[in-house]
Every structure is written in structure tokens, then in C-alpha cells.
């Protein structure tokens, strides 16, 4: 009987290691990256409104503001309907002037790393 129980427990543990033992650490997706070159964005406070407004859109995945390069980079989901014209308008409505805007339709979204599984999670606990 002990032998059977040991076999069953070993099988469960092995099964769990098989399921959880080969986790996908990286998930890659293709999105749209819109980069706007702007002028007048000289302080952190000036750019706060941009972050807040763009984050209200469901199809905006992330926004990156670079004061050094005077750029606003907006990562859109692949099916986003936000046009360059609309993005320029939003930036303009926040008091910042867009000089140039470009769209990368084949943007490799930064790869997300899932937390490394612990020893116990590998064992199925």
C-alpha cells in the first residue's frame, strides 16, 4: 500500500513539474509605436497632462516621455484607431507643439518577463 501511495505522489509531483517546469518567461507582441517630436516640453509638469490624457485611452499600452530628446512615444495596441492627426491634436491641446510624428507599425513590444518560479512552485505547490 505504501508503495502505491509513494508511486501516486511521485506521479503527481512529476506531472506538476512537467506543467510548471517549463514556464514561458517572455511574451512578445507586435504593436504600433508612434513617436512625436515636440517643442515646448521643457519641464516635468508640462508633460504630466500628456501622460494622464493618453492613459485614458484603452488602446494606449504605454507612454514614454523624454525631455532630453523632446519626444513623446506612445505604444498603441495593434488594432488601435488613434490616428497621427488625433495624437497631434491631443498633444496640441496640452499646450505642446508637434514638429514631426512617425508611426512604426511593426514595433516589437518590450518583452515582459514573468517572475521566476520558486522551487516550491516547480514542485506544484
Amino acid at each position: 500500500m505504501k508503495y502505491i501511495i509513494t508511486l501516486i505522489l511521485s506521479a503527481i509531483i512529476c506531472l506538476n513539474i512537467t506543467i510548471y517546469g517549463t514556464p514561458k518567461y517572455k511574451i512578445a507582441t507586435k504593436n504600433i509605436l508612434v513617436t512625436a517630436q515636440v517643442k515646448g516640453m521643457v519641464c516635468d509638469f508640462c508633460a504630466r497632462g500628456l501622460e494622464k490624457i493618453f492613459n485614458n485611452y484603452d488602446d494606449v499600452k504605454s507612454i514614454d516621455i523624454n525631455l532630453e530628446k523632446s519626444t513623446v512615444s506612445i505604444e498603441l495596441l495593434a488594432n488601435s484607431a488613434l490616428s497621427n492627426k488625433k495624437i497631434t491634436e491631443i498633444i496640441q491641446n496640452n499646450g505642446i507643439t508637434t514638429i514631426h510624428i512617425e508611426r512604426n507599425l511593426n514595433y516589437n513590444s518590450p518583452q515582459k518577463t514573468s517572475p521566476k518560479p520558486s522551487f516550491w512552485s516547480k514542485l506544484g505547490f
Binding site: G40, D44, R48, G49, N66, L67
Partner: protein, 207 residues
């Protein structure tokens, strides 16, 4: 204890008139300004980038002034490395003291120009209290950033503020205040000590 709680609450949720008087579209702002002469709280809403409407309450010399405030961005000039603004602030209000109530109006023209390294601001305001007095205040601020900080980093500025006051066409005084401005994200703090040993302390919160 209640007073301390109120003061702490205000400190946590305020925004100074030293920063831009208009927020982003749809943004609410609560400001508080504290110095040796007055304590002021101002709540405003910016429907668009070029104006804000609000209510301000100010305590000064045992008087309480309550006024509406309309801030308008008259002109903005953006360049790749700088931004310049011209604002008009109109504040019709009522002043209460222990004896009576009077109408009060203040109009301010404010201009600023800044880069990531340098900051300058000049304000001139005229204040008229019905059958009482006319007061003109000027303020000049010059600043330099300790380093060029990027977005979300801690920004550190060294500034000097010069105030001069005229009451009924008579010069009153100058006040020179060196100060440090620190900000990160939506929180801005200013700490200064004037040459006359008067403390300036502002905490700013934008939301």
C-alpha cells in the same frame, strides 16, 4: 489638534501660485501658498489648456479675502528648448475684516520663460479695495537647475525671488528670498528664507 489636522490636510493637497496657474484640460488643482504675509488656498479647474476658473480664500493681516479667479493664457511660445507664457489673472472678490465687508479686485499679468536649465518669471499685480487702498506688487523670480533631470526624476532648482510693494503710490518694501525648489512627479516643494529671516514654504500637488 483639529487645526493641525486641517493644516496637514491642506499641505498634502496644495499647489502653489508659483507654478503655472493653468493645469491640463480636465485637471483639478488645489493650491496653497504660505509666507509671512498671507495664507492662501485656491481651487481651480481647467476645462482647456488656455484658461482655468477657481475660487480662492486668503487670510492676510486678520482679514479674509474670498474671490473668484479666472486665469487666462494669453500667449504661449514653444521652441525646441524653451517655453514662454503670458497669463492674465482676474480676481474679483470680497474682503472681510472685523469691522466691515468690502469689494476687492486684483488683476495680475504674469510672464514666464524657461528651459530645462533656466527659469524666469515676472508678475505685476494691481489690487484695489473699495474706498480703501490701491496696492501694486511686483515679483521677479530667476532660477537655475542644478542638473537637467529627465521625466519622473527628481528636479532641483535654485531660485531667487524679489518682491516689491507699493501702497497708494508709496513704496513699501523689497523682499529678497533665495529658495530651493524640488519636484518629482506631481509633487513640488519650495523652501526659502528671505534676507529678513522670513520663511517661505510651499508644497504643490497636481492631480
Amino acid at each position: 489638534m483639529k487645526k493641525i489636522l486641517i493644516i496637514v490636510t491642506l499641505m498634502l493637497y496644495h499647489y502653489s501660485t508659483q507654478a503655472r496657474p493653468i493645469s491640463y484640460p480636465g485637471g483639478w488643482t488645489i493650491m496653497q501658498l504660505n509666507n509671512d504675509q498671507k495664507n492662501r488656498i485656491h481651487i481651480h479647474y481647467s476645462p482647456k489648456m488656455n484658461y482655468s476658473i477657481g475660487l480662492a480664500i486668503e487670510r492676510k493681516n486678520n482679514n479674509q479675502l474670498t474671490n473668484l479667479q479666472l486665469n487666462q493664457l494669453i500667449y504661449r511660445r514653444n521652441t525646441k528648448y524653451s517655453q514662454g507664457n503670458l497669463y492674465l489673472k482676474t480676481q474679483p472678490g470680497i474682503i472681510w475684516d472685523k469691522k466691515q465687508t468690502k469689494l476687492n479686485t486684483r488683476i495680475t499679468i504674469s510672464g514666464d520663460w524657461e528651459t530645462r536649465r533656466y527659469f524666469s518669471q515676472y508678475d505685476i499685480s494691481g489690487e484695489y479695495t473699495y474706498q480703501k487702498q490701491t496696492q501694486v506688487n511686483q515679483k521677479l523670480r530667476l532660477g537655475v537647475a542644478a542638473y537637467k533631470a529627465n521625466y519622473n526624476a527628481i528636479h532641483t532648482w535654485f531660485m531667487i525671488q524679489i518682491n516689491s510693494k507699493f501702497k497708494n503710490n508709496q513704496f513699501q518694501n523689497h523682499e529678497i528670498t533665495p529658495l530651493i525648489r524640488l519636484f518629482k512627479g506631481t509633487v513640488l516643494t519650495e523652501i526659502g528664507l528671505s534676507l529678513n529671516k522670513k520663511i517661505l514654504f510651499n508644497i504643490i500637488k497636481r492631480f
